[in-house]
C-alpha cells in the first residue's frame, strides 16, 4: 500500500500593493505558485491616488478609481488599507537615509512600510496561528529606483524593517540570496524572476503573459514627494513656519490650487477651476477666505494672517487678478472669517507685474 502524502499546507503571504504594475505582478507570481495572498496598501497622505483625480476637473474623465483596490479586485485578493499618515510624518521629517531627488524619503519609506507589514504579520500569527501569514511580498526590483532599490539597499530594507528573510521580492529574487520561503520550499525559486534595472520591458512582457492588459503606470514614483513642484511647496511651508512639521490638511492643500506667498507670514491658495473651488469650500470654516463678489472668480484661502488693511487689500487685489474681472477698474472682493463674518473690499485687480514670480510657490 502506498502512502498518501498529506496535502501541502497552503502558504500565506502579505503583499504590499501600491496600485502599480510591479506589486501587481509580484502578487500574481505568488498566486501562480499556489500561495494565498492578501494585500495591504498604506495611506501616507502623499499618495497620488483618488483625491487629486476627484478634485481637478481636467482629470475627471480619467477613472476615479483607487488603483490599489482595482488591482486587488483584478487579482481576486483581499485588500486592507491602512492609514499610517500620522506615524509617517517622522519618516518624511527625519529620514535616517536621506531624501531622493526631491523630498521623497524612499528608502526609509520602504523600511517603514515593510516594518508595518511585519508587525501585521506577527500580530496575525499571534491571533490566528496557522491562519496567520508566513511571509511578506513586495514588487521591488533591483536597480529600478536610484536610491531605494539599489542592490545594496535590498538587504538594508530586509534587515531594518525586521522582516529579515521573510521578505520576498518575486520579481528580483533570483538576483538576491534565497529567502526563507525559498529555502523552505514554500515557493519555487526557479519560477521566480531576476529582473533588474530601469528597463520595464520584462514587466510588460510578464503582464502580457498573465493576460493583464490594463494597469496603472505611475510616472516617477508612487507619491507626491517625488514631485518637484510639490516638494517646493512643502519646503516653503516649513520655511514660512520656521519649523519642519505638517498636518494632514496642510499636505492635502498642497495638492490643490495656485500657491502665492506675498509675505513670509501669509500665503494665498487660489482655486484654478470648479473642482478645486468645491474642495477649498470645505476649508472655509478653518481659514479666512476671499471670493470676488462683483464678477465670477476663484475662491482663495489665506494660510497665515493678514496683519493690516494694506495686506488685506493686497490679497484681495491678487485674487481679483485671477477673476473674470481682471480687466476691470474695480472689483469687489468678499473676505470671510472662519466664523462666517464677512466684509467687502473694493480693489483694483493686481497687474501681473505686481505678482513677482518669486511669490509663486508652485
Amino acid at each position: 500500500m502506498s502512502e498518501v502524502a498529506p496535502p501541502p499546507i497552503q502558504r500565506r503571504a502579505i503583499a504590499l500593493v501600491s496600485g502599480g504594475l510591479d506589486s501587481m505582478l509580484a502578487v500574481k507570481v505568488m498566486q501562480e505558485q499556489g500561495v494565498h495572498v492578501e494585500g495591504v496598501n498604506f495611506f501616507t497622505g502623499f499618495c497620488v491616488e483618488g483625491h487629486t483625480h476627484a478634485i481637478r476637473k481636467k482629470d475627471q474623465d480619467k477613472d476615479k478609481r483607487n488603483n490599489a483596490l482595482w488591482v486587488a479586485e483584478t487579482l481576486g485578493i483581499q485588500l486592507h488599507i491602512v492609514d499610517i499618515s500620522e506615524e509617517y510624518k517622522d519618516v518624511v521629517l527625519n529620514p535616517k537615509h536621506g531624501y531622493g531627488a526631491n523630498l521623497n524619503p524612499c528608502l526609509d519609506c520602504k523600511i517603514f512600510m515593510v516594518n508595518q507589514a511585519t508587525l501585521m504579520l506577527n500580530k496575525a500569527r499571534e491571533l490566528a496561528g496557522e491562519k496567520g501569514f508566513d511571509f511578506i511580498v513586495t514588487g521591488e526590483v533591483v536597480g529600478q529606483r536610484p536610491k531605494s532599490q539599489r542592490k545594496e539597499t535590498m538587504p538594508i530594507i530586509s534587515r531594518e524593517s525586521g522582516a529579515d528573510d521573510r521578505l520576498l521580492r518575486p520579481l528580483s529574487a533570483r538576483n538576491l540570496p534565497p529567502t526563507l520561503p525559498e529555502r523552505e520550499g514554500w515557493v519555487d525559486r526557479e519560477r521566480l524572476h531576476g529582473f533588474s534595472g530601469r528597463n520595464r520591458k520584462p514587466q510588460m512582457a510578464l503582464a502580457k503573459q498573465f493576460g493583464l492588459e490594463e494597469y496603472a503606470q505611475p510616472a516617477g514614483g508612487c507619491c507626491f514627494l517625488t514631485d518637484e513642484s510639490y516638494s517646493r511647496k512643502l519646503t516653503d511651508l516649513w520655511t514660512a513656519r520656521n519649523e519642519r512639521r505638517y498636518e494632514l490638511d496642510d499636505i492635502m492643500l498642497l495638492k490643490v490650487g495656485r500657491h502665492i506667498r506675498p509675505a513670509p507670514h501669509y500665503k494665498l491658495i487660489i482655486s484654478r477651476e470648479e473642482g478645486e473651488n468645491r474642495f477649498l469650500e470645505g476649508y472655509r470654516y478653518q481659514f479666512t477666505s476671499l471670493t470676488t463678489a462683483s464678477c465670477p472668480g476663484p475662491l482663495a484661502l489665506v494660510d497665515g494672517t493678514l496683519e493690516n488693511e494694506e495686506q488685506r487689500h493686497q490679497a484681495a487685489a491678487i485674487v481679483a487678478r485671477y477673476s473674470k474681472g481682471r480687466g476691470d477698474d474695480q472689483v469687489v472682493v468678499e473676505m470671510r472669517e472662519p466664523g462666517g463674518v464677512a466684509r467687502e473690499l473694493t480693489v483694483t485687480p493686481a497687474h501681473p507685474d505686481d505678482i513677482p514670480l518669486a511669490w509663486n510657490v508652485g
Partner: protein
C-alpha cells in the same frame, strides 16, 4: 442585528474607505452600515472594497452633495 451610520463627509479617498473598513471590523456579520461621503470617488471605491472583502452593497444614492452607500457586513475572512 445593528444598523449604523458613519459620517465620512469632507474626507477624500481613500479615507472614507479606511473609515468604512475600520468600522466594519467592529461590526458583526449581517449588520447594516450606511456611510455618508462627499468625495464622489467613494461611489467607486467603497463598493469595490466591499466586493473584494465579501460585503454586500445594498444601495448607493446621491442626496445633494452627499453620496450614501449602504452595505451589509459579510463574514470576516481575514486574520489581518
Amino acid at each position: 442585528m445593528a444598523e449604523q451610520q458613519l459620517d465620512a463627509r469632507r474626507l477624500l479617498c481613500p479615507m472614507p474607505v479606511i473609515k468604512t473598513q475600520n468600522r466594519v471590523r467592529e461590526l458583526e456579520r449581517g449588520d447594516i452600515l450606511t456611510v455618508t461621503c462627499t468625495d464622489p470617488g467613494a461611489l467607486n471605491d467603497i463598493p469595490a472594497w466591499c466586493r473584494i472583502n465579501g460585503h454586500e452593497v445594498l444601495e448607493t444614492r446621491e442626496s445633494g452633495h452627499d453620496v450614501l452607500i449602504t452595505l451589509r457586513v459579510g463574514e470576516a475572512r481575514s486574520a489581518l
